[in-house]
Symmetry: C2
């Protein structure tokens, strides 16, 4: 058992092509106890985004703060504080906070697939 | 892809022996898309607790609000808003908010083990 404030985890700039003003932290990853799934923290500043992309890992997401457009779903779809978002494996998705006025912060859990 | 406010999920009283003033919600479970891990939401009111217990499922936890004593770890261990808690498989653990003055709310992700 351990307890750690999320801010003690390294803040890493998300350098995916097209990503802007976004950082992430591995809260529980392979090196910190995760076996089959990992918990990450994302923060997209006002004016930032993670563009549409896709991968084999599904997402289980909980929004901590802010509101942003969800890319890849129905037109006009948004997610806000206290929302749960589920994204299927290989489903195109992204998060657009370019028109937001506050940070969009969320927890995102992914499976640790075979490397 | 779907988006849902956590409050739209059914609130279920936790009836584990010794649990007090505690409810949970399945945010993403088997019926709502989870494949190998599930995201749940817990709320322990001020004065409530989940007593020491153990099981095969590890926990990856993010504290949303409040502060509570963690049972089963080092003496005096607590968890508060913005903390990450990791609990190993079969490690005894519990959460004591009996002396707290506000709800202790957290996200808890577990593996979906073979039934």
């Amino acid at each position: 058992m351990y307890v750690i404030d999320y801010e003690e985890r390294d803040e890493i700039r998300v350098d995916m092509p097209g990503a802007e003003k976004t950082t992430m932290r591995w809260l529980v990853g392979r090196r910190s106890g995760a076996r089959t799934y990992a918990m990450r923290y994302f923060e997209i500043e006002a004016g930032g985004k993670i563009p549409l992309h896709q991968h084999a890992e599904e997402h289980e997401i909980f929004i901590l703060d802010g509101e942003a457009k969800l890319l890849g779903g129905d037109e006009g779809m948004t997610a806000k504080k206290d929302d749960v978002v589920f994204i299927e494996p290989n489903e195109p998705h992204g998060y657009d906070n370019t028109e937001g006025e506050s940070p969009f912060r969320f927890i995102c859990v992914i499976p640790l697939l075979e490397e």
